[in-house]
């Protein structure tokens, strides 16, 4: 009997080795553990043994059964693992196939830049104010200390309407409208479209500007520098250097043009910055007393500063588009790039 058990064990283990499929495994299991299986049959023969033989044979029989049971279980697991590995291998995909990209649109690059600018100033407490594109001479020029015979008017080639209105040449009229409607403290930015008779690689007849205005009881030129420096660092990076240089605008005094170190050459001088190492980004200055007078503010009681920047210019410091008119062609191959 003991020999029989040993034989069964070694036969079963050998047979297990050759099993390749779960069906074969099941047949093999039945061949040994089934009702008439070899192991079952031998176990049934136990009861014919003498009382002396039974304990030793019983012990061996149990050992054989449990070791075979475990071997069968291992085989089940091994087969399952093999099957899974095989399945995973079969399921491999061509990773170069194009993905199912969800469709998504993109905001126009000018609008992306505009939004960036707005976000920065909003964080500094500025609110968005708006005004009409079709303006009067009064709001666009006179109230901004640019009377009819002022030479500065020639700097703006203005589109006039047949009804005597004009297309605003800058978003600065919103300054005046805001000050007419509210009292200091005022902190606004006025994004919008502006228009000038101009059409070449660096000018479009319509463009976007962001005007800013801060008026309070004691606003200083140094604060103008602070706000614009903070803006430029957020917009162009911490390492950017700033330059404020004197300039002339009729509606601010002192006035400044503001440059940042060239984003191409970091200030060493290159073709993009005309060798100067600087790129102009905006105009600014302390609000001129004549502008306060136009809105009935007392220039002794309040001071302020204003600034204005061209969104296309700011955008192009980043994008470097050789012909700025490309922004308005709305070519999808262009728009998809941003």
């Amino acid at each position: 009997m003991q020999e029989q058990l040993i034989q069964i064990q070694s036969d079963a283990l050998a047979a297990l080795e050759d099993v390749k499929t779960s069906d074969a495994l099941e047949s093999l299991r039945i061949a040994y553990f089934g009702r008439n299986g070899r192991l079952t049959t031998v176990m049934k023969g136990m009861r014919n043994l003498s009382t002396e033989e039974r304990p030793a044979a019983g012990k061996l029989a149990n050992e054989v059964r449990s070791s075979l049971t475990k071997a069968f279980e291992d085989k089940v697991n091994r087969l399952a693992r093999t099957r899974q590995a095989q399945q995973l291998e079969e399921e491999a995909v061509d990773i170069t196939l194009p993905g199912r990209k969800p469709l998504y649109g993109k905001a126009h690059p000018i609008m992306q830049t505009l939004e960036q600018i707005e976000t920065i100033f909003k964080q500094m407490g500025f609110q968005v104010a708006t005004g009409p594109d079709v303006e009067t001479e009064y709001y666009n020029f006179d109230a901004l200390n640019t009377p009819a015979e002022h030479p500065a008017r020639e700097l703006h080639d203005t589109f006039y309407l047949t009804d005597g209105h004009l297309l605003r040449t800058h978003t600065s009229p919103v300054q005046i409208r805001a000050m007419e409607q509210q009292h200091p403290p005022i902190r606004i930015i006025a994004p919008g479209k502006a228009y000038r008779v101009d059409y070449d690689v660096s000018h479009t007849p319509m463009f976007h500007q962001v005007e800013g205005l801060l008026v309070d009881t004691h606003v200083t030129f140094s604060e103008l520098k602070g706000v614009l420096t903070s803006f430029a660092q957020q917009m162009f990076g911490k390492r950017i250097r700033m330059r404020f240089r004197p300039h002339f605008f009729p509606f601010t005094e002192p006035s400044a043009e503001v440059d940042i170190s060239c984003t191409v050459c970091s200030g060493n001088g290159c073709r993009s910055c005309g060798g100067t190492g600087w790129s102009e980004i905006l105009g600014a200055g302390a609000v001129h007393p004549e502008v306060f007078r136009a809105v009935n503010y007392d220039a002794e009681q309040v001071t302020g500063f204003a600034f204005g920047m061209g969104v296309e210019r700011i955008a192009n410091l980043q994008f470097r588009i050789p012909d700025i008119r490309t922004f308005y062609e709305n070519d999808l191959r262009f728009l998809r790039q941003f």
Partner: protein, 796 residues
């Protein structure tokens, strides 16, 4: 305006390099737009001394010269110029030089003899038209000196942007004064010592000002017996270096003084002036004058002329007349120095389209007190370089004396405005260097007189700016605002715009931005009715082109144009939108407008490309209304000629039209060369914003299970698909949570004129678990009702 480094140095001392000077000027508010090195075209040309001349072994007309160019060994140069002689100094173009006429100098064999360069004439060097012989140079120059340097041609030109408020800086002296304010060095003005031997000027001429409102001052001098000829080389070089053409000594001198003082002068041929006198008056209407540019000008009474006893001889402050110009025959000169009213000069120059160096300066405002120094300086130069005798004295008519401007300055205010802590003394220093004269020494409240050349400075803030820019903007501290931040006012408009834009982007549409302009042709292309108010766009007086002559009243033409552009570039999946204002009468309402044409879909696998249809655009419109929080709208077909008559709908809120969408009319497609059907929408964004529900409220979500039943019904094909939904909802009442159409079928399986519509009805209760019994009863009622009201048969 152009200035040069060497020229500037004659008026004030400074040690800046070109780059440093450019930086300093820029930081003073005079932006340097470019820096150009002169004389580079003469690189490789040096001064040579002819040390020996020998005959050429193989040619009679050539000579072998030995030329000392400062090196150890003399160069052997073959020369054909007959005037070459031993000991002379002449320019030598050495091997490697490229002359202005394009000639490259190489080591060459001439008739078998090697030549190491070329001796040059003025013409060969592009210095003049003189090719009579070699250019002879002054003897004291050391051989080997670069020619550009020897001739003073190695100057550096700065192109300056002078802001319109600074007419004083349209001159070398003005710019030098600014440099002096920076360095603290004094200004060195030219010295004038006139010998006036020509008899009293008053016996030679007279000046009458008949229009003192346009001419506040007119001064004249007379110089007799001048010799017209070339001006001296140095003067020619100066003018050429700043881009002014050389004419003759008299004209060159007036131009030189114009650049030097910024004060335009005019020289008349004294003998050509009727009665030898000057009348400053308005032109008569229709009066004619032929100006120096050989153009006959018709004048009117707004224009100021300089006339003699009979006729206009110059357009005041703008351009002289041809009849009285300086010619080679001129012997006696009347020199004008005057002050004209800026606005009048600007208006005349603009009307006649003449813009000159003179008008440019008079328009911006010249210095009435600068009239005499400029006049005297020019007369001195004429006496020096054109000979002649200067008549004694000046005829100076000055009907409107310049009134000095006094300005009070509170140093404390300066610091208040700038955020600085400057000393009063510092401010005083800066202003003095700029030519401001202090009248009292009270450091709490100075009183300054503005120099007459600064018409731009009239008030305290102007002085603040002067102090700030000379002190240096870069030294003003950088601080953050200390004031209160105003309480923000919420703007629901902005919020809705943002939501709509986000939604449209999420559908795959791309945002475009177009010009606000359109042309009348665009209204025809979208087939607007003749009487459509949208045709009444605001009109530009000065459009860039007819197609940009109106302001947009609708965004549709722009988007169709964008589609055309992209289609022309073989781009087929076109889905665009724009959010912008349009211009209707005096209002600027917002529109959101979109176009869908060509292909939709991802283009891969089961999401293959297909052409969009009405339901694509409608889906976008539905989403747009949903994100705007607008639910109770209705649709109605319209006869808008832009759209396909059977495939469009306007969106109504009650009776208010808030938008339209649908398929573009085939004629519109043709007008924009679009090969595929196109789908459009245009919404009144302000109406969406006004009716939007900005506040969203929570609706409880039922915890009970829902029951879905599908039905397919067959009914007349002309019954709109939403009608069954209405009846289902009415019949099912509160238990019907939603009804969704999921299939439409027309074809063989149903009778002609009928169609099958399939809906999923979701029954749901917020208070109980629905039993089959209840749902069956309600669902049965629904089917019965659909049959009764619409003749719907259940499709099996």
């Amino acid at each position: 305006m152009n200035v040069t480094l060497n020229w500037l140095k004659t008026y004030t001392d400074f040690a800046y390099s070109a780059r440093e000077l450019a930086d300093r000027l820029t930081m003073l508010g005079i932006e340097v737009e470019s820096i150009k090195q002169l004389g580079t075209e003469l690189t490789g040309v040096v001064v040579g001394k002819v040390t020996g001349i020998h005959p050429h072994p193989n040619a009679d007309k050539l000579l072998l010269c030995h030329v000392d160019v400062g090196d150890d060994a003399a160069l052997q140069i073959v020369c054909g110029a007959p005037d070459v002689r031993e000991g002379m100094l002449a320019p030598v173009a050495t091997v490697g030089a490229e002359l202005p006429n394009g000639l490259k100098i190489k080591r060459a064999k001439l008739r078998g003899t090697i030549s190491h360069g070329m001796l040059c004439s003025e013409k060969e060097l592009g210095l003049s038209n003189d090719d009579a012989g070699l250019m002879e140079l002054a003897e004291h120059i050391a051989p080997g000196t670069p020619l550009a340097g020897a001739l003073g041609l190695d100057d550096i030109v700065f192109e300056l942007e002078i802001t319109p408020n600074r007419p004083d800086c349209l001159s070398l002296i003005g710019v030098a004064r600014e440099i002096g304010a920076d360095t603290g060095n004094p200004l060195k003005l030219p010295e004038v010592h006139l010998q006036e031997n020509g008899g009293d000027v008053r016996e030679n001429t007279s000046v009458t000002i008949e229009a003192p409102e346009l001419c506040s001052r007119y001064a004249a001098r007379v110089i007799r017996g001048v010799t017209i000829g070339q001006s001296p080389m140095w003067l020619q070089r100066r003018l050429e270096s700043v881009g002014i053409g050389v004419i003759n000594n008299i004209v060159d001198i007036t131009n030189f003084v114009l650049m030097e003082y910024g004060h335009p002068l005019h020289a008349f041929d004294y003998q050509k002036l009727a009665e030898n006198r000057i009348v400053v008056r308005r032109a008569n209407r229709g009066e004619k004058l032929t100006t120096l540019d050989e153009t006959e000008r018709e004048l009117d009474t707004t224009m100021l002329v300089i006339a003699d006893a009979e006729k206009p001889v110059a357009l005041a402050g703008i351009m002289g007349g041809e009849d009285s110009e300086i010619t080679n025959a001129t012997c006696d000169v009347l020199l004008e120095s005057a002050h004209f009213q800026p606005a009048s000069i600007r208006a005349t120059a603009k009307t006649l389209g003449i813009h000159t160096e003179a008008s440019y300066r008079f328009e911006r405002g010249t210095d009435a007190e600068g009239v005499i120094p400029a006049l005297n300086r020019a007369v001195q130069l004429i006496a020096d370089f054109a000979g002649g005798t200067v008549c004694e004295g000046i005829v100076d008519v000055y009907p409107r004396q310049h009134q000095p401007i006094h300005i009070e300055l509170r140093p404390e205010r300066v610091n208040f405005v700038l955020g600085t802590q400057l000393e009063a003394g510092q401010m005083h220093d800066i202003l003095s260097r700029l030519g401001f004269h202090v009248e009292n020494a009270n450091p709490d409240k100075y009183r300054f007189t503005a120099p007459t050349f600064r018409p731009d400075v009239t008030r305290e803030i102007d002085l603040v700016e002067e102090i700030a820019r000379v002190y240096g903007y870069d030294k003003i501290p950088t601080t953050l605002p200390k004031g209160n931040i105003p309480v923000p006012v919420p703007k629901p408009t902005v919020e809705i715009h943002k939501r709509i834009k986000q939604f449209l982007l999420s559908t795959g549409m791309m945002e475009v931005v177009n010009y606000s302009f359109c042309g009348p042709g665009s209204f025809d292309r979208i087939r607007l009715n003749e009487n459509d108010v949208k045709r009444e766009g605001l009109r530009l007086q000065n459009p860039l082109s007819p197609e940009m002559s109106l302001l947009r009243t609708t965004l549709l033409p722009s988007l169709l144009e964008n589609a055309r552009h992209n289609r022309n570039h073989q781009i087929d999946n076109i889905a665009l939108f724009e959010i912008s204002t349009v211009f209707i009468a005096s209002k600027e309402p917002y529109r959101v407008t979109g176009i869908l044409t060509g292909k939709v879909g991802g283009g891969v696998y089961e999401d293959a490309y297909r052409h969009p249809d009405f339901l694509d655009i409608k889906g976008i419109v539905e989403g747009l209304l949903e994100v705007s929080g607008i639910n109770d709208y209705t649709l109605a077909k319209t006869a808008e000629p832009t759209f396909h008559p059977g495939r469009n709908a306007e969106v109504l809120l009650g009776k208010q039209h808030i938008g339209i969408f649908g398929e573009a009319h085939p004629e519109v497609l043709k007008n924009y060369n679009l090969p595929y059907r196109a789908y459009l929408f245009e919404f009144d964004l302000d109406a969406l914003t006004e009716n939007a529900e900005p506040v969203k409220r929570f609706e409880p979500i039922s915890i009970y299970p829902k029951v879905q039943r599908d039905i397919a019904i067959v009914l007349d094909a002309d019954i709109p698909s939403n009608l069954p939904i209405e009846f289902i909802k009415i019949t099912g009442g509160e238990l019907v949570e939603s009804v969704r159409l999921f299939d439409v079928y027309e074809g063989e399986q149903v009778l002609a004129g009928k169609r099958s519509l399939a809906y999923t009805i979701t029954y749901h209760s917020g208070t109980e678990t629905l039993t089959d019994k209840l749902v069956n009863r309600v669902h049965g009622n629904v089917i019965k009702r659909l049959h009764q009201e619409l003749g719907a048969e259940l499709r099996m």
